[in-house]
Amino acid sequence: MKAGVVVFPGSNCDHDVYHVWKHVLGEDATFLWHEDTSLQACELVVMPGGFSYGDYLRAGAMAAQSPIMAEVRRHADAGGLVLGICNGFQILCESGLLPGVLRRNVGLRFLSRDVHLKVDRDDLPFTHRLRRGQVLRMPIAHGDGCYVDRADRLDTLEKNGQVVLRYCSPAGRVEANSEEHNPNGSLRAIAGICNRQGNVMALMPHPERCSEGVLGNEDGADLLRSVAESGTAGRRRAGSGR
């Protein structure tokens, strides 16, 4: 599956996700410049992590106004896949492709550590290799990762099954009030969501940073491989082991 990694001034995980997509998963990848007006026939658009435009004003706010975002929106409306990671999540919220807001972490400090995530949806193009209730370990590295929205909208989000991942304990217990297990204070411990149609998904943790054995953790590869294999009717699914 051809992935386009959007590069904004200040993106800094663009090379990381490109590396995993191309060299670990063996898929086609290209960079897309924020001023581009073509997605170069990419089936997947990745909004990478970083500090687009320095996160000045608000995280993701300026990037959401970039020329390429019109194309990304068109792609999403047509059912194309969009994956946002960290700053990419913030940009997707700011541009309205996903609901809610990512606010300053509850402890008001940048947090770089491993977290545990419980899988709520395993029927999405992004998660079909995972199973519901499974616990993943992934690193987070962000200052603005506290997911918030109005209570009634959160109810709707949950009712629609748009919550994909929640922060949890290593044993898989979701405790929204635990600073240890929900470190940025996200409401209802939400770590990753998707849109109503399930073709746009974003998460704060970094799957691209835990997709190789040499780094001591491959939990992220399952998520990224799900996307790669969701393309042309799981053309590669048969050949790849878990």
């Binding site: 800094n12 995980c13 590396h19 995993v20 320095g54 940048f110 770089s112 970094h206 940073r209």
Partner: protein, 743 residues
Amino acid sequence: MTEVLLDEPQVDVALAKRQGMTAEEYEHLVMVLGRTPTYTELGVASALWSEHCSYKSSKVYLRELPSEGPYVLQGPGENAGVVDVGNGWVVVFKMESHNHPSYIEPYQGAATGVGGILRDVFTMGARPVAVMDSLFFGSLDAPTDGRPSRMRHLVDGVVRGVGDYANCVGIPNVGGETRFHSCYDGNILVNAFALGIARRDAIHKAKAAGPGNPILYVGSRTGRDGIHGATMASEAFGEQSAHKLPTVQVGDPFAEKVLLEATLQALRSGAVVAVQDMGAAGLTSSSFEMASRGGTGMELELSRVPLREPGLGPFEIMLSESQERMLFVARRGKEEELSRIFQRWGLEVAEIGRVTGTGRAEVRFRGARVADLPIAALTDEAPVYRRPVREPRDLVQRQWQPQVPEPGDIGAALRSLLGTPELGSKEWITRQYDSTVRTNTILGPGGDAAVLRLKGSPLGLALTSDVNPVYCFLDPFQGAMQAVAEAMRNLACVGAEPVGLTDCLNFGNPENPEISWEFREAVHGIARACRALDIPVISGNVSLYNETAGQSIHPTPTIGMVGVIPDLVQVPVSWFTEAGDRVILLGDDQRELGGSAYLRLLHGIEQGRPPVVDLDAEARLAELLRYLAFERQLHTAHDVSEGGLAVTLAEACFGRGLGVELELPLEPVQLFSETQARAVIAVPPRQVKAVLETAAELKVPARDVGKVGGGRLQLKLSGAKVAVEVEELRRVWATALPRALGM
């Protein structure tokens, strides 16, 4: 020559003194020029001849440091040093201090320290892949007159500053160290290290060549921030230092990230002759240093420099230390191509002059000549001092061997040590730093050394930064040797062989003969260790005048060392990983408590001779550790350092919460002895025989002392026993720093 009306002060010796020059230096300048300097010339000369830029008090000693080796492509003298690590790759690294600004304004001071060191690395054509920070703070319980402690504010500001900057640029912070000691109450130290990688043929040097080539100014606009920062960093602090706020620069990590990408792209284009960051002394040092290296001259028209606010005069433009600015020498005819690259990244570009063959810097402002200076006389031929040295009067008292109290309850003593911010976990700090971006981090902060993979090769890169200022205070020669030896030992614990080091030499006022003596001894110590261990010094930085109201810091020669792991398959970790593993002690204890954490932190005694450094023993131990790591016989390797064997063992238990049961032929107090050239390793039982045999071959004392397992740290000593729950110790250790900070 057109006349421009500039409201500038009268230049005389009194003004020169106010700008930090001595009367002799001013006279020398007048003699070199054959006339009275202009106001701008005086500013330029005082910046270039400041301690910070000229190394005038340290140069005579720095020459002793070995800087060559078969793999060294660039030693000191460039923006950063370069070493070949094989497979077509080179590493570029340097460490630099940002002490004075960080004390005045901790957030911006520390942030711009990171920014400056990153620019030093990427101007060489290397992509930065890691940073480390070595931080030295005063005691957290210093008297505060009922106000919130200033030191806590400094810790918080510095950590946020380091974190926000590197996090935003996207460079993982993978290590360093943090220390607390009352000698830093009036002068904290912020030493920032950066490591970059490049293909061997991509390295660029900052040598302005080719008369006629245009000079481009790229990046942020010039403002009034940081004017004369280099001079400020060359003075001791007094009562008035709070007024120095405008001399601190303000950082913009987003501008840095964009500048980083644009610079690397520009260097790849072939359109660049030379580039240098406008760091300390801004446009002055970048232009003079590039011309000096190239043996050329420069013409500059300052009215073309993009300004942040109107009204800056030539003096201010030449000396501003506004951040995220670069000076490029372009290949003539290629300036358009270069400008397009910068503009694509949204960066401002201005052509502000050209290279000449005159050997002079001719600086104009709106057409009028404001400076005309001979470059060599102000750079290579700058004043050099061999300052008087004198052994400290109290050296005998410092080194007097103190009475060593018995620990009594060993478990309680260990708990107390682990509960100090000095020896407690630094996770409160490192959690605020992104350590995994760029997906190379195999081992991040918290171990003996950080380990990165080098994508596209089987190699691993290991890095560490070390110094024990208390040892250096008691004996700067031994202390400096110890810093080099410990850095090598830390690298060996992850199986890495050193390829080079960078030093950041932080000392007090060199005009005090006792401080100059400390400096000389420390440099001797580094030189001795580097020669014996065959490690070149490829870059470095000197920070003097770390003194407030006559109170100097301890000598603090921070050593940043980089090593290579030939085959990144199984890297030993600093914690126990498998119950049942056998624990082997490498090296023998010599009962050395002088300058130990045990005496200082538990008994308030900072006295005695620090542990003796046996470089031969260090070399053999390091070779053994590297061999065992390469043969994949090690699960765990952790060096014995501050706090002695007791702290080493406790730390090794914390990683997985695994205990140990050991029988040690030591008396209780020896658990806290800090004898060097020692490490604790853990190996699967089937490897014990082979490991002991290899150790014997390499003449490293080795002893199988017990096994990993259970949840307790259980030690059977000569005439005493200890048994403590690991979890209980871990909790004390993990909460020590936030507790001390009141977080």
